[in-house]
């Protein structure tokens, strides 16, 4: 995707919640909805977005012992 095309998509993504939702469920259809026909390469990276982010705060390891 050209930089200009990508930036246009980004602006739409930030302003429009419904586009964000559509992109999550079917990126290619969402982009087509804007009147843009993605190329094969663009389709590939649109569908290969990894939504399962591994970046996370690591839980605190509080090693407990208790009696009852």
């Amino acid at each position: 995707m050209s930089e200009q095309g990508g930036v246009k998509l980004l602006d739409r993504w930030i302003e429009d919640e419904s586009f964000r939702t559509a992109l999550r469920s079917d990126p290619v259809v969402a982009v087509r909805g804007l009147g843009v026909e993605p190329t094969v390469e663009e389709r590939e990276w649109l569908t290969s977005i990894d939504w399962t982010l591994s970046d996370e705060e690591l839980e605190q390891l509080l090693e407990k012992a208790f009696y009852c």
Binding site: M1, E17, D50, L61, Y67
Partner: protein, 681 residues
């Protein structure tokens, strides 16, 4: 129809009596309408020129696209103004008595730009455009009044088309349209200036403007066009303006005052959520000072970075994308800038992962943001709320910081030997021989008297200390820090803890060893008790044997993988899945039940489902084992103290208590997981 010269003021289409009632009410309506700006003589001329029209419910008063040739003044009833959008009609506003229709076409010329449909029986005065135009040319006040009325309608339509305000209902949109005012800007004129307080936000209506984050920054200026909402962040956060916005060409902006904007957010929760998301997505966060960066390689060779906030003892794991973003968080870039940088340098479209990452960094306190903080936890009523309150009351602790240097000294002087090969063989020998001694203890030697508690209490306290020392010194053996230790209450008993979070910087094997070091220390301690018990006669032998029994049971209890105890951390490190519990519970809370009906949704969540099922099985199994152990070992001893009819009930009571506590803990965490899974935009 018409006219001067003694003709009747209205032509009648409906029943005469009805029309007479309308006429009687009509004069006040004329006076209160935009036409009321006319002098009475001119107004009467228009009244005389008008004809009366009535419309049945669903009948069209004017149709979008039709040529403009007349105006309607609603005298009675309500109608809906709508515009077409594809095959649908989008409602814009409701109109009622005193409202003038068609003035937009009179001002802008051309054809009708909206359809008006009667919602009930409507009576309206029809005015020929030529008559009104003639009066307008002669009367400046009327022209202004009609232009203002048309402008409100245009503004309402414009707001409807602005995506960030799309959720406003008709009433709210109309109220906003009534309150905003237009302001024009010349090219290069500043609309808002960085650092200044903000009491207004803006909807760019025409023309283009540019956003300057920092004059010293080399970032390209962002150009914004019609329909963009800006300046809202200062109203929501009460902070000064973060950017400068300057007109590139002649611009018109609709200005919304703080009170109006805040009022809108208060009455429309959906809009408030959208605006907060927008503010968050446009925010330019900066890294918190003093965060340490540690580059690591996972067990399967993946490179990652762990951020360490030494002051607060918190850790954050960054992937390759996360590290890319982290290095650029200098307070000048927002999600868009970061996503553009990634697009250019790596060739991927990743705004959502970046937004999620920033939300998590903000929640963890690793970045400073200007946006609204995520929603605070709301306390719910019902059983879930009760579980949360119970959790708050029954799980608490007092942390003690600054113990690492003392532990390091202790380790170097006295404990290091334990972590040598010989030391470990010695500990293993005590554990095994002690267990055999415990299991083979003659039944007669297990009988005890009332003095049992005097021995048990200090032994239990010592057992807690030994358990935590196991974790602490194992952490030191691998060169990591012990951030803090403490004591408190954990659901149904006293607890102690050691914070070994610094082992996130260690290898997976080392983390596993630290997690298991506590239970192992308790097993060694219980073995020691079993050995010592053999050296004494009752009642001391029985007290020591019982203390060993409770220690062994506590190890079993600690290996429960459902609560954040040693068993859970062992599982986390074994699988190398941080936050395993919250992830599995989050999935269960949001998608788990749906997956029962649609098994295809299990794809990618097999382990989450397995963890959930295993949780239930573990609770049932642990409760059963508790009852079995009680009845086969403890009940005989209890019968010496309480009536024999009560003793069996205590076993069931203990098992029930265990189930309740575990289920309550899991239930409370399910709620937390559901909330955190909805936090990002």
């Amino acid at each position: 129809m018409l006219s001067s010269g003694g003709a009747p003021p209205f032509a009648y289409r409906s029943a005469l009596s009805d029309a007479l009632r309308v006429v009687a009410e009509a004069w006040d309506i004329w006076r209160d309408s935009p036409l009321g700006a006319l002098a009475e003589q001119d107004l009467r001329r228009l009244v005389n020129a008008a004809s009366l029209e009535t419309y049945q419910p669903s009948e069209t008063l004017v149709r979008e696209g039709d040529p403009e040739d007349h105006l309607l003044l609603i005298l009675r009833g309500t109608a809906e103004v709508s515009v077409s959008s594809g095959e649908d009609a989008v409602p814009l506003a409701f109109v009622g008595p005193g409202q003038l229709l068609g003035e937009l076409a009179l001002i802008t010329g051309g054809v009708r730009s909206a359809t008006i449909t009667a919602l009930e029986e409507v009576a309206a005065a029809r005015l020929d455009s030529g008559d009104v135009g003639r009066v307008m040319r002669e009367n400046e006040a009327l022209g202004n009044a009609l232009r203002a009325s048309a402008e409100r309608l245009l503004v309402a339509r414009f707001i409807r088309e602005v995506s960030s305000l799309a959720s406003l209902d008709d009433g709210a949109r109309q109220r906003l349209a009534d309150r905003v005012h237009s302001r024009t800007y010349a090219p290069a004129e500043t609309i808002i200036r960085r650092g200044q307080p903000g009491d207004e936000c803006f909807l760019l209506r025409s023309g283009f403007a540019e956003i300057e984050v920092d004059p010293s920054s080399d970032l390209p200026l962002l150009k914004i066009g019609p329909g963009t909402l800006f300046g809202e962040a200062a109203l929501v956060s009460n902070l000064p303006r973060q950017v400068t916005v300057r007109a590139v060409e002649p611009c018109t902006a609709l200005v919304i005052d703080r009170d109006d904007f805040v009022g809108l957010l208060e009455t429309d929760s959906d809009l408030a959520r959208r605006v907060k998301d927008l503010v968050r997505l446009r925010d330019r966060p900066a890294r918190v000072e003093g965060i340490e960066k540690h580059h690591r390689v996972s067990a399967d060779g993946e490179r990652f970075v762990v951020l360490k906030d030494r002051l607060r003892g918190r850790y954050f794991q960054l992937s390759d994308l996360g590290w890319f973003v982290w290095q650029r968080l200098d307070g000048t870039r927002n999600v868009r800038d970061l996503a553009v940088a990634y697009l250019n340098e790596r060739g991927g479209f990743v705004p959502q992962p970046i937004a999620d990452l920033l939300a998590r960094l903000a929640r963890g306190g690793f970045i400073v943001t200007n946006s609204v903080e995520p929603e605070g936890r709301s306390r719910d009523g019902g059983l879930g709320g009760f579980a949360e309150r119970a959790r708050g009351a029954l799980t608490w602790y007092h942390p003690i910081s600054g113990i690492d240097s003392a532990l390091t000294r202790l380790y170097n002087r006295y404990v290091r030997f334990v972590f040598t090969r010989i030391g470990q063989i010695l500990l293993a020998a005590i554990a095994v021989v002690g267990l055999v001694a415990f299991l083979t203890m003659p039944v007669d030697s297990r009988r005890s008297g009332a003095g049992l508690l005097l021995v048990l209490i200090p032994v239990f306290a010592l057992s807690l200390l030994v358990h935590e020392a196991g974790h602490a010194f194992a952490t030191k053996a691998f060169g990591r820090e012990v951030n803090r230790a403490g004591f408190g209450w954990f659901w149904i008993g006293p607890m102690a803890f050691i914070d070994t979070s610094d082992t996130w910087l260690a290898t997976r094997r080392q983390r596993l060893a630290v997690a298991l070091a506590g239970p192992y220390a308790t097993v060694v301690f219980a073995g020691l008790l079993g050995l010592v018990a053999r050296a004494f006669d009752p009642p001391l032998s029985a007290a020591l044997w019982f203390a060993a029994l409770v220690s062994y049971v506590s190890v079993f209890q600690n290996l429960n993988p459902l609560i954040e105890l040693d068993g859970y951390y062992t599982l986390v490190h074994l699988l190398d899945r941080p936050n395993l519990r919250m992830k599995a519970l989050g999935w269960l809370a949001t998608s788990g039940w749906g997956a029962l009906r649609h098994p295809s949704r299990l794809r990618g969540h097999g382990f989450d489902a397995l963890y959930a099922v295993a949780s239930v099985l573990y609770i049932i199994g642990a409760a059963t084992l508790l009852v079995f152990l009680y009845r086969s070992v403890v009940q005989r001893w209890v019968e010496q103290v309480v009536p024999s009819s009560v003793a069996p009930v205590i076993g069931w009571g203990l098992a029930g208590l265990y189930v309740i506590v575990t289920v309550a803990a899991v239930g409370a965490d399910l709620r937390r997981a559901r909330r955190s899974s909805h936090a990002a935009p």
